[in-house]
Amino acid sequence: MHEAPLLGGPYAHEKVSISRTMLWVMLALLPATAFGLFQFGWPAIFLFLVTVISAVVAESLSLWIMKKPQKLFLLDGSALLTGWLLAMTLPPWAPWWIGVVGALLAIVIGKQVFGGIGQNLFNPAMVARVALLISFPLEMTLFSSPQPLFSVGAPDLLESLEITFGSAGQIDAVTSATPLGHVKTELSRGLTVDEALGGTDTLWQLGLGTATGSLGEISAVLLLAGGLLLIYLRIITWHIPIAMLGTLALLAGMFHLIDPASYSSPLFHLLSGAAILGAFFIATDLVTSPVSIRGQLLFGAGCGALVYIIRTFAGYPEGVAFAILLMNACTPLIDHYLKPRVYGRDRSGEPLNYADEDGEA
C-alpha cells in the first residue's frame, strides 16, 4: 500500500508482522511436511514443489493484473503458505496438473477475486481441495501407501518423474485406501469396525504416520507438535483446535459407547485424516475464523461436529474440508452475534448499573 504518514500514536510497536506470522506457521508445518515427503518419496516432492511454485506464480499474476506491488505482497508469505497447505492435503502421488489446478483455484478463486489477503471468506486451500475432489474424484481419491525414500521398492527418480509428470498416470503405483476410507467401505459391506481395522495397530500407524493418507496429514504426532508450537508462540490460541477436536472426540465417544461395532473410537477419529492438521492449521486460519474467544469456541465446536457428521453419515469418508468451509460461511454471523463484552457495559451493551445489585444485597 503506501508509507503511512502516521500522525497519531502509538510510536512503539511490537516486533510483529504478517510475514513473521506466516513464517512461523510454515516452520511449524515443516516437520510433518518433511516426514510426509520422506514417506512418499520423489513423486510427493515433485507434487509439493509444483503446487507451491504454482501458488506463488498465480499470486504474482493476480497482483500484476490488479496493479498491486509484487514484492510487498509476495514477501508476506501468504501465497506460499496456501500452496503449502493445499499440497499437504493432496494424495501424494497425484499428477502434476492436480497441483497446478489446485493452486490456481486456491489463489485466484479462493483468495484474489475476493480482493486479496485478508478479504477472502473461505480458506483458499480448502476451497481448492473441495473443488478438486468434486471435479477429479478419481485422482483425488487414489492414495498410495507410504514407500519411504531410498527404501526397497520405492520409485527411483525416473519412475517418480513418470508418476508425477507422465501421461499414463499412476498405473503401477501401489494404491490402497486411507484408514477412514477403508473403514467406511468395510462398514457398508456389513463388517464391524474391529474387523475392518484388524486390531489396534492402526492407531499407532496413524499416530506415527505410517498409514496411507494425504501428503502431509499422516503424522498426527508431528502435526500436533507444530500446532502446540503455534499456541506457545501465541500465533493461534487454543480455543479453535481444542473446541474442534473436543467436539469430535465427544461425539465419536458417545456413538462408540452406544455401538462400538458400527462407530469408530474417538482416538481413531482424532488421529486419522486431516483432523489434527485441520484443527491446528486450517480451522485456525486467521482470516476466515471468528475474532472473539466465544466465537472461536463456537466455530471450533461447529467444525468438530460437522467433521463427525460427514465422516459418519455422509457419502465422503473425510469431512474436514467441507466442515471448515461450512463454518467459514458462518464466521461473519458468529462475529456479528458473539462480541466481547465492552468494559463498563453488560452483554446487551447497556452501561453497568450497580444500583440493582445493591438493592438485591
Binding site: 500500500m1 503506501h2 508509507e3 503511512a4 502516521l6 500522525l7 497519531g8 500514536g9 502509538p10 510510536y11 512503539a12 510497536h13 511490537e14 510483529v16 508482522s17 504478517i18 513473521r20 506470522t21 510487498l72 508476506d76 501468504s78 486479496g116 489477503i117 485478508g118 478479504q119 490460541t237 486467521l286 482470516v287 476466515t288 475464523s289 475474532v291 472473539s292 462475529d335 462480541k339 466481547p340 463484552r341 465492552v342 468494559y343 463498563g344 457495559r345 452501561p351 453497568l352 448499573n353 450497580y354
Partner: protein, 493 residues
C-alpha cells in the same frame, strides 16, 4: 492484597532505565517564559496583568473562568512582555493565548504566597478551595482541574482514594523519581486530598517495575494505617484510571460514568506533591518534573522545570541530540502527542519530552488487515478494533459508534500489536473528531434555522402590522371622504 485481572493489555519494552537513575535536577531559568492561558480541560483563564507590568513569583496572572477552569500563576518574578498568540503544546501547533514573561533573575516570591501551618485543621471545602486557587490540575496528562474532583464528595458516596503511581507509559520516569525523592511530601498531599474527599481508605498503586519507589512510599506511609501501598503487575495500560480502579477494587466503572460512581476517586502522584506545596507552603502550581529521554537525547534526565519553559531549552540542557530525532513526542510513546517543534512551552500536563531515534520509530508499511484478532485480545475495553476501523475506513462513522467507538480510551494497545501495522488509533481519533465536528455543525445548523424562522416570523408580523395600518388608514380616508361628501351635499342642499 487481592488484585483483579483486567482484560487485554500489552507489555511494551519500558526503556525506563534510560532516565530512572537520574535524580531530579532544577533547570536553570530560561531567558523567556511562554505561559499559555489554556493548560487544562475547560475554559481558558482570563488574564489579569498588562504588558510591561512587573510580577512576582507565584502572583496570579490569569484567573479561572467558570466551573471547570484553572488559574495561571507567574513561575518566576519578572516583566510581562506581552499577551498574544503563541504555538500551543499540541500536535496542531495552533496559536493560543499566551502570556510571555521575561524573568528578572531575582526569583522573588509574592507576599501572598503563604502556607498553612497545619492544613489538617482546615475544612474539606477550604482544602479544595485552596487547591483550586493554586491552579492545580491532573498532572498525569489529563489536566482536569483537581479541585473539581476533590468536591465530588458532595454528589457521590466515596469510600476510597486511589493514587495513580503506575506510570505505565514506557520511557517516563518523572513520577518514579518524585516518589523516590519526595515520598514524605507526596504522602502529605495524599492525606490532604483524602481529607478533602472525606474517605477512609487510600490505595497507593505503583507498578512492580519501580521497586525503589514502592519501598520509599512504604517507608513514608509507615505511620498512616489508612494508606496502603499496592504493587501492580507491570502491564500497559495499567495507569488508565478506570482499569486501575478495576484492578484494585474489582469493579468496572459503568460506561459513560466516572470512577466516583463506584465510590473511588483517582489522583496522580505529581498532583499530590502539588497539593502539598499549595497547602503547606502556599505555592501555586508553577513548575513540574519532566522526563527528557529517548534514544536521540544525549543525556536523558528528569528535570524540575518552570511552566512556560520552551522545550528546546530542556533539550539543550540534556546535551542536545545524538542525531536528528526521527520523532518528537510530548508524553510517552503510547499515548503521547507528536510535537510540531521545540519552540512550544512546558505546560502543567507535560510529563515527558521524548526524542525517538530512527531505530526506535519503526515506521512500517501498512498492510491489509488479516483479521488475526491480536487487537481484539489486546483491547482492555473489550472492543473489536478491526471492525471499528473497517467501518470508519468505509466512511460509516455512526456504525462505528454502535461498535463502541466512544468506549475506546485510545490507549493504543491495538495498534501496538497489529502485525499489519494499521494505525488503528489514528482511525479512531479521526472518527471521534469528525463526529464531534458534525455534532457542532448540526447544532449550528439548528441554531441558524431557528434564527431564520424567528426572522421570517418577525418580518411577517411587521408586514401584517403594516397591512393593518394601511387598511385602517384607507378606512379613515374613506370615512373622511364620505364625511366631506356628506358635508358638501348638506351645503349644497
Amino acid at each position: 492484597m487481592r488484585l483483579f485481572r483486567i482484560r487485554g493489555g500489552v507489555h511494551p519494552d519500558d526503556q525506563k532505565t534510560l532516565s530512572a537513575g537520574q535524580a531530579i535536577e532544577n533547570l536553570p531559568m530560561p531567558p523567556l517564559l511562554h505561559i499559555p492561558l489554556q493548560q487544562h480541560i475547560g475554559a481558558p483563564a482570563e488574564p489579569l496583568v498588562k504588558r510591561g507590568q512587573l510580577v512576582r513569583k507565584g502572583q496570579l496572572l490569569a484567573r479561572s473562568q467558570g466551573m471547570i477552569s484553572a488559574p495561571v500563576h507567574a513561575p518566576t518574578s519578572g516583566r510581562v512582555m506581552g499577551i498574544g498568540g503563541y504555538p500551543a503544546h499540541h500536535a496542531s501547533g495552533l496559536l493560543v493565548r499566551t502570556i510571555t514573561l521575561k524573568p528578572d533573575g531575582y526569583d522573588e516570591w509574592d507576599d501572598d504566597c503563604e502556607g498553612v501551618p497545619d492544613p489538617f485543621t482546615l475544612a474539606p471545602e477550604e482544602i479544595a478551595r485552596r487547591v483550586a486557587q493554586a491552579g492545580i490540575v491532573g498532572m498525569g496528562g489529563a489536566t482536569f482541574p483537581s479541585a473539581v474532583k476533590l468536591n465530588l464528595r458532595k454528589r457521590y458516596a466515596l469510600h476510597t482514594l486511589v493514587i495513580n503511581g503506575a506510570e505505565c507509559e514506557p520511557y517516563l520516569t518523572c513520577d518514579d523519581r518524585l516518589m523516590r525523592e519526595r515520598a514524605e511530601d507526596v504522602r502529605d498531599g495524599v492525606l490532604l486530598m483524602a481529607r478533602a474527599l472525606g474517605v477512609e481508605k487510600i490505595l497507593f498503586a505503583i507498578e512492580n517495575n519501580k521497586p525503589q519507589a514502592q519501598q520509599c512510599m512504604r517507608n513514608a506511609a509507615r505511620s498512616c494505617p489508612e494508606l496502603r501501598v499496592v504493587g501492580l503487575p507491570t502491564r500497559y495500560p495499567m495507569g488508565s484510571e478506570k482499569h486501575l480502579v478495576q484492578t484494585l477494587v474489582g469493579k468496572e466503572t459503568p460506561a459513560r460514568g466516572l470512577t466516583a460512581d463506584i465510590g473511588v476517586v483517582v489522583h496522580n502522584v505529581a498532583t499530590a506533591a502539588a497539593v502539598h506545596d499549595a497547602l503547606r507552603h502556599g505555592r501555586p502550581l508553577i513548575s513540574r518534573v519532566v522526563t527528557v529521554t529517548g534514544g536521540a537525547i544525549r543525556q536523558p534526565r528528569n528535570l524540575h522545570v518552570p511552566i512556560g519553559t520552551p522545550l528546546d531549552h530542556l533539550a539543550k540542557y540534556c546535551g542536545g541530540f545524538h542525531d536528528e530525532p526521527a520523532k518528537l513526542i510530548s508524553g510517552g510513546p503510547m499515548m503521547g502527542q507528536p510535537l510540531p517543534s521545540l519552540r512550544v512551552p512546558v505546560i502543567k500536563g507535560s510529563n515527558g519530552l521524548l526524542a525517538l531515534s530512527k531505530d526506535e520509530v519503526r515506521s512500517q508499511v501498512e498492510m491489509p488487515c488479516i483479521r488475526c484478532a491480536s487487537c481484539v485480545n489486546a483491547c482492555p475495553c473489550g472492543l473489536v478494533p478491526l471492525n471499528m476501523a473497517a467501518h470508519i475506513r468505509a466512511g460509516s462513522l455512526e456504525s462505528s459508534v454502535d461498535l463502541g467507538l466512544l468506549d475506546c480510551i485510545a490507549c493504543g494497545s491495538c495498534a501496538y500489536v497489529c502485525p499489519s501495522h494499521i494505525p488503528l488509533v489514528q482511525y479512531f481519533n479521526y472518527a471521534k473528531g469528525e463526529l464531534a465536528a458534525r455534532q457542532r455543525a448540526q447544532h449550528k445548523q439548528g441554531e441558524t434555522k431557528r434564527l431564520i424562522e424567528a426572522r421570517t416570523e418577525r418580518m411577517e408580523a411587521i408586514k401584517k402590522a403594516k397591512r393593518e395600518a394601511m387598511a385602517k388608514r384607507k378606512k379613515e380616508m374613506a370615512a373622511k371622504k364620505a364625511a366631506e361628501a356628506a358635508k358638501a351635499e348638506a351645503a349644497e342642499a
